[in-house]
Symmetry: C2
Subunit: 231 residues, 2 copies
């Protein structure tokens, strides 16, 4: 269990899981997808975070705009805005990207296989984001089986492990975990609108706001932006 790859979007959850992996595995590589997301700025910020903590970082390009069906990859869809988290409802919102995590985990497994790495770490959590089917434990377990059946791992002793250590934590609990591990969130972006300054209207901004309120601290991203005169 010494080498690992972390699915790293640069958001709060994956930044935390990156620090968790560093405290757990001997070797950690970060993997970010430049998938045609409208908030593509997260890719360069993820790169900045990886450089700051000096871990190898791979960026894979993937054009999910060809598939469409989501307001995150197709700007013809308006990005939904909410006043409160309760307004989001119970159905997957238009920011659901069809089977995004399935595609990313499949590509992560392929890349991991070329590296001889069998641990893939995800920051998925369902407590605060129950609307996205591709973050649930049932999905992660099924995907692990598919990867183990469809790669050379099926023929050798090495077996893939997909780990989602935060799947049942609230976002505020994830942040506390990260702070205890020394995580720096000042470059971590969440806003779907794709600006460094949070729009505070998309569901991702609202979730982030609520989490920092629960933690009882000011969001380090806002602290940095203020310091830099951007807020």
């Amino acid at each position: 269990m010494s080498k690992s790859i972390v699915l790293f979007s640069g958001g709060l959850d994956s930044t935390t899981v990156l620090y968790w992996a560093l405290s757990t595995f001997g070797e950690v590589k970060a993997l970010t997808f430049d998938y045609g997301q409208r908030h593509r700025l997260e890719v360069s910020m993820a790169q900045k975070i990886a450089q700051k903590i000096k871990i190898p970082h791979k960026i894979l390009k993937l054009d999910l705009g060809q598939i469409g069906g989501s307001s995150l990859t197709d700007t013809n869809y308006p990005l939904p805005e909410f006043k409160t988290l309760e307004d989001i409802g119970t159905e997957p919102p238009s920011t659901y990207v069809p089977f995004r995590n399935g595609i990313m985990l499949a590509m992560a497994a392929a890349w991991a296989e070329t590296q001889g790495i069998w641990n893939i770490i995800c920051g998925f959590n369902v407590i605060d984001s129950p609307h996205y089917p591709d973050t649930r434990q049932e999905f992660v377990e099924a995907m692990a089986k598919a990867i183990n059946a469809g790669t050379k791992a099926s023929l050798a002793q090495a077996k893939f492990h997909l780990l989602s250590p935060f799947i049942n934590l609230r976002k505020s609990e994830i942040i506390k975990k990260g702070l205890s591990l020394g995580a720096d969130y000042s470059y971590s972006l969440s806003c779907y609108r794709g600006q460094e300054i949070p729009c505070e209207k998309c569901s991702s901004c609202l979730l982030r706001q609520k989490a920092w309120q629960e933690v009882g601290l000011r969001d380090p991203l806002l602290v940095r932006l203020k310091k830099e005169g951007k807020l």
Copy 2:
């Protein structure tokens, strides 16, 4: 069970399964991946076949060269040549593309979801290609579970079906099936080298040669090439 998407590379198996789908489903769409394969010519030939039989055809771009680890996507690896099929051995050859079918099925499911189509048809067969882990029944079943758990299908009544009707057929039996359905194989390519004229040295050419020998007919591709003065 009326609408379907066929994973269509343009090879013998997927050409046959396309005809099978046309005989089985009310609506058929073909899906081809331009994934950085060295035999990329198969994409334009697949397009030609789809046009000839007048079915909607989607081509998704995907750069598996970024992941590497295969002589099909990385020309730094030499393409293995064999004298006989027995020389191939029992291990996955360098033409294995890490988790290729997992990645393709994940993207196919995403696209299918945007179309409201729940049947994905694959021409996988393991009898003649036991070296590729991502064509086996165990993999297909696990992948179907992952797709059903990780898409909106998990929340609705619609459920994805991954169908591999030829998984236990020999390639010659697949061809016979196709011929009985009126399949035209004259534009179907198999050669890994990526030329229209088969190299007759790669494993894919050897398998195709053997299959047509078993069927007892001359390969329609060669018949066409001769007619066009290319052979």
